[in-house]
């Protein structure tokens, strides 16, 4: 009887052969749409850069900004039809600020997507395992140090913030490690505990800081007002290298959405992938935080929005988050410096104020479980 059964099943299998090619086509269609999305978001980022450079107290038209930027590209000849001072405003003041906002937005979004994937936890953000608290403590100590320290034209504060961020993560890692493995739940718990400890020290230092309070609070809330090319050049290599490394681990990260045991059985060296992704995400977060403070919301909302629209495949999620994060923070910063000009609103206020309603709208619109 068992044999008859098998024979019957085999006949059914032959039949199911027919419409197979179509299904694969459909599958590739899904991919093609998402590739268009990457190109589209890339284009959007370029437009946003031009737009944000045009906005400001001195009005400069979009076409002028566009020609100025094009003229700087190699092999492009455009007659100069603008005053030199405009060029200074664009290239020395606005563009570095736009670029830094873009870099930080890209870094926070891609780091957020990475942490959410690694921890298989939708609430994970770039600051989950103590990066932000470490950076904040480092920066506050920098503010309180006597004198005005400068190393190679940068303030001492970013360096201390960077060191604080890395130190916090190193401690969390050392505490959470069990033999050769790194259990993710232990890591989160250790991160939360150490974060609370560091934050308590920071709070104490802040309330006893006296006349330096204003500078500290401004840093903590995040701002790009001091951005120059020097800062951009310091942050760029970390974000670039970290992001590229993370992109290359997109497929293993997909497989790790199964449990760790299955990932291993599919040939993934789980412990190594975890370590590399944690290191890369932490490094770019620390680099993003050190100049402009901790900017909330980007790292959690951008990856989720991308996931809602284009699905959970990290090979698309990671580059799309990078591009969307950059555009989002550039726009948010443009709003932050223009709404109450000449005063500036802390960027963290804008990211939450603009981002949250949009995200709630998406959530309502799609009405599906996203993780």
């Amino acid at each position: 009887m068992a044999k008859e059964n098998i024979a019957r099943k085999s006949a059914a299998l032959e039949l199911s052969h027919v419409s197979a090619g179509k299904k694969v086509l459909l599958y590739h269609l899904g991919w093609r749409n998402r590739l268009y999305a990457i190109a589209g978001l890339g284009l959007l980022l370029v437009l946003v850069i031009v737009l944000a450079s045009a906005i400001g107290s001195t009005h400069i038209s979009l076409s002028t900004v566009g020609s100025m930027l094009l003229a700087r590209l190699p092999f492009v000849e455009i007659p100069t039809a603008w005053v030199g001072s405009l060029e200074i405003i664009i290239f020395d003041i606005r563009l570095p600020r736009v670029m830094l906002a873009g870099l930080v937005g890209a870094a926070l979004a891609v780091a957020g997507a990475t942490y959410q994937g690694l921890f298989r936890n939708p609430l994970a953000d770039p600051y989950l395992i103590g990066v932000a608290q470490g950076a904040a403590l480092g920066a506050v100590i920098g503010f309180l140090l006597p004198g005005n320290w400068h190393i190679a034209s940068f303030g001492f504060i970013p360096l201390l913030a960077f060191a604080g961020a890395l130190m916090a993560v190193a401690v969390v890692y050392a505490v959470a490690r069990v033999g050769k493995t790194l259990p993710m739940t232990t890591l989160i718990l250790a991160g939360v505990a150490l974060g609370a400890f560091l934050a308590s020290i920071t709070s104490y230092l802040v309330i006893t800081s006296g006349e330096k309070l204003h500078g500290i609070v401004t840093w903590l809330l995040g701002s790009f007002s001091l951005a120059r090319w020097g800062e951009v050049m310091v942050v760029l290599p970390y974000v670039l290298v970290g992001t590229v490394v993370i992109w290359f681990y997109a497929r293993p990260l997909n497989v790790m959405q199964l449990d760790e045991e299955q990932a291993q059985q599919l040939g993934i060296n789980v412990e190594r992938v975890k370590l590399i992704l944690l290191a890369a995400a932490t490094l770019i977060t620390a680099a993003a935080v050190c100049f402009c403070g901790t900017i909330g919301f980007v790292g959690i909302i951008i990856p989720h929005a991308v996931r809602l629209i284009w699905g959970p495949d990290h090979r698309f999620l990671l580059p799309l988050s990078t591009l969307a994060g950059a555009s989002f923070l550039i726009l948010a910063d443009a709003v932050a410096r223009t709404v109450m000009a000449p005063a500036e609103i802390p960027i963290g206020v804008i990211t939450a104020f603009l981002g949250a309603p949009f995200f709630l709208f998406l959530l309502r619109q799609k009405r599906r479980a996203i993780f």
Binding site: L13, V24, Q265, I370
Partner: protein, 271 residues
């Protein structure tokens, strides 16, 4: 000839040994069933052969190669596992899940090509899952998901397939469907199949060889007829059962009888 061999393998967690001195041999085209009561180390055996845990002593060979010296991806090209109630990412599509089976065949910088898509497609046809390739996993039933995990294992193009309770939590129609599929794949593709089963009747019907585990050691091995009998089940499981030949194929079938108390209570309720 291709084979899977365990030589004096002891497996456990930390200092606690679960299995001791296990000697096993499995051949292509045959299903080796592993049976035994809860906690006897069936799953531990699967985890050992897929190197989730390493033996504290003894060695495991596939095709004459010690699995200890293989890289993770090399091993995953040899051995595929269908875990017991695996965690699956709900918002991935069925196709995306099966495509993950190609992971050990792809380098870090390479993407899936025509060949991989063809293999995945074939695996999904064989498991009759191609019809819902574009659906998300959360929309699928337990039986459909189980067939997808088997399809994923096939996409690995393994020589050995390990199944940990492949029919747990499935209705009887799915149990038959999944095990028919496994035995068909095993014979057609010359796979070495090792499956843990807690249902003795399914084990008897589908397995060519059985190994019964008891107290961390092999209690008995051989054909279903040789392994499943009243005394063995009394001794290993501590259960009183009757074993009769199956009316169609004479393989041993196990029947339970409720204990006296339970029986009386039930008849009183009915009466």
């Amino acid at each position: 000839m291709l084979d899977l061999r365990l030589k004096k393998v002891s497996l456990g967690y930390g200092d606690q040994l679960v299995l001791e001195g296990i000697e096993l041999e499995a051949k292509p085209g045959e299903i080796l069933g592993v049976i035994g009561p809860n906690g006897c180390g069936k799953s531990t055996l699967i985890r050992g052969i897929s190197r989730i845990i390493t033996p504290s002593s003894g060695r495991i060979f596939i095709d004459g190669q010690n699995i200890d010296v293989m890289s993770r991806s090399n091993l995953a090209r040899m051995v595929a596992v269908v875990p017991q109630s695996p965690l699956l990412p709900e918002s991935f599509t069925a196709f995306e899940l099966v495509l993950m089976g190609r992971t050990p065949h792809l380098g870090r910088f390479s993407y899936e090509g025509e060949k991989d898509v063809a293999i995945v497609q074939r695996a999904m046809e064989v498991t009759q899952t191609i019809a819902f390739a574009r659906r998300r996993l959360k929309e699928l039933s337990g039986g459909e998901r189980q067939r997808l995990v088997i399809a994923r294992a096939l996409a690995q193009e393994p020589k050995v397939m390990l199944l940990d309770e492949p029919t747990a939590h499935l209705d009887i129609n799915y149990q038959v469907e999944i095990l028919d599929l496994v035995s068909q794949l095993c014979r057609q593709q010359g796979l070495i199949v090792v499956a843990t089963l807690h249902n003795l009747n399914l084990a008897s019907q589908y397995c060519d060889q059985l190994v019964m585990l008891h107290g961390g050691r092999i209690y008995s091995r051989g054909s279903p007829g040789a392994v499943i009998n009243k005394q063995a089940i009394k001794e290993v499981y501590g259960a009183e059962v009757y074993v009769y030949p199956h009316p169609v194929n004479s393989l041993p079938m196990t029947f339970i009888v409720p204990s006296e108390d339970g029986h009386r209570q039930r008849s009183r309720k009915l009466g």
